[in-house]
């Protein structure tokens, strides 16, 4: 069984440490939810794992099946089997979905001729309207359509581990169900390991977590089974974060943090 192993991960943005040492192991086919309040470092974690420019890792390691990925550029991490479903999928004018996914598949020596059919099939499963598939990547898509598009790409690319960065934000109930169900199916269909980063528990109604971690102020403060998410639903984050942190989230220093949160 494969694993994504995060050990003692510390990272900073413009000289300010956001992640103060994260330890996490996700096995293939498992779903781990990382839940935390605004400013806890959730998005930083997802960006650092994918190698987004602008962050400095100061300590720790991240291995995929024992291979260190922190030194790799983003595309090599993706080729090694990591996928990031972004909180704010970027519009890329003039680049078609087919071209993007064909390049992605052929770059790892896979058959790119299946792209068109695979996109059509997955789009139907996820409920992404066919007319949207001919648009340039994410251009003029609504928030919900972009998230379906991320999920559709995940299903076509079949990565080994997927980081879902607030997949549930900006999604209506139907889209949320379609996307989370598709990811849940992927955990058995191709043994996908999932790191679902979210603020709310609603993502976890269809996507059943094996482990729930609470991230607060750049640290995993507690981990447990699915019941931890239920507990959160009842009590909120108050018991894990000080009032100070809620009043002044440390994420203020994070230029990539959700500006609308």
């Amino acid at each position: 069984m494969g694993e994504l192993r995060i050990q003692g991960l510390k990272a900073e943005v413009v000289g300010r440490e956001i992640l103060h040492g994260i330890d996490l192991v996700v096995g293939s086919g498992e779903v781990h939810a990382v839940m935390g309040p605004n400013g806890s470092g959730k998005s930083t974690l997802s960006h650092v794992l994918m190698g987004k420019p602008g962050y400095t890792v100061t300590a720790g390691s991240v291995t995929l099946d024992g291979v260190e990925i922190l030194g790799m550029p983003t595309w090599q991490r993706a080729q090694a089997g990591l996928f990031l479903a972004m909180q704010y999928p970027v519009e890329v004018p003039g680049v078609s979905l087919d071209d993007l996914l064909s390049e992605a598949l052929s770059a790892t020596g896979r058959d790119a001729s299946i792209v068109h059919a695979a996109v059509a099939a997955e789009a139907e499963r996820i409920g992404l309207a066919t007319r949207l598939l001919d648009r340039p990547v994410n251009v003029d898509l609504s928030g919900g359509e972009k998230k379906r598009n991320e999920t559709m790409q995940l299903a076509v690319l079949r990565p080994r581990f997927a980081i879902l960065d607030e997949l549930d934000s900006g999604l209506d109930v139907d889209a949320l169900r379609a996307c989370s169900r598709r990811v849940e199916e992927a955990t058995t269909e191709f043994n996908l390991g999932v790191l679902a980063i979210t603020h709310y528990t609603r993502l976890l109604e269809e996507l059943k977590p094996d482990v729930v971690h609470i991230l607060a102020n750049g640290r995993i403060v507690t981990s447990g089974g699915p019941e931890l998410a239920d507990e959160l639903e009842e009590t909120g984050y108050a018991q894990w974060v000080t009032d100070d942190e809620i009043a002044a989230p440390s994420g203020e220093a994070d230029p990539f943090a959700d500006p609308f949160a």
Binding site: K52, T74, A78, L100, A104
Partner: protein
Amino acid sequence: MTSPDAPTASPTWLDDRRQAVSRRIGDPVLPSTEEEVWRYSRIGELDLADWSTVAEPAERGLPAGIEAILAAVPERAATVVVRNGFIVHSEVELTWSERGLYVGALVSGPEAETALGSVSGDGIDVFSQLNDVNSADPILISVPRGLTVDAPVVLIDWIDIEGCAVYPRLVIRVGANADVKVLDWHGSADVSAFVAPVVELDLAHAARLGYGSVQMRGPRIWQVASQVSHVMADATLTSSHVALGGDYARARTDCRLIGKGATGNLQAIYFGENEQTLDFRTFQKHDAPKTTSNLLFKGAVDDHSRSVYTGLIKVEKVATGTNAFQTNRNLKLSEHAWAESVPNLEIETNDVKCSHASTVGPVDLEQLFYLESRGVPTDVAERLVVAGFFQEVLEAFPVPGVVGLVNDAIEQRLDRRSER
């Protein structure tokens, strides 16, 4: 089909006109970069004595290298090939000539004497005047009122004499409620030459013209081009320009919206490499109420290449209810490349919607990260983003058949880029 075997004899009125302009400009004085419209240009490097005008057509056959262009637009209403300033091939499909479409030598066309200079007047600058004097075989496309020509008219302007100076002239007159699409392809062999084309676009009431020009001259060509248009009431001009070739290639666009409700859509893409300079000057002139102009120029500069964009929106007092937009976006692909972008507004009335935007910057890092996060290597991701940058304009190109050729040329540039 007609392929003239001798140059069309020029009528007296044309000789007179040439001589009159020649007397007026005397020994031509070239502009300098002191003039705003020539600022940042390489006009100081130009010496007209380095080139000689072509008195006689050296070759009357079709130049090699145009087959792919013709093949890309197999259905054509008319085809004209001009070589070193002389018509070497001219044909109009019978079905269109019967309905009054004229495409060919201006001197043999309808209202020839008034057509020439009907838009450019006394000439926008000295190069336009030199064109008046020296243009060997002016071309006229004349579409009678009410005619919708549903296959494109294709012109190929080809240069293949070393050291020549050529002054191509094209006049397009679109009658009331008529509709036509024109491809104007500027190509060349790898020769050193000076070319100063003038294009006049004359749109009558409610006429529609889609004018697509592709400048793919060789790397040693100097080109100073001028396009002037008059757009009458409710008429729509869509002009789309692709600029890839030349050592120094300048394209000045003067769009004058004269009639109420006239529209001018002006688009261009350009991609410089090596030491190229690509130079664009635009004027959106609103002379009537409820006129609309929409300008989008997008370019990339690589290596040591340079681009210049300066644009002016001028809205006259009478032009109430006007919409005028101007956008210039530049990708700077190398640290030695340089892009200048200077937008300007001159507005004499309050009742307008106007905007201008101009950017110069590297490839968008968020876009790159997104593509790379799917497993696409950095160099491939960058290629996709750069090629994608041009598609917004190419998708609306009036003669879509040649977009494949343009994309091929862009891809070749990107190939050379990754080899360096």
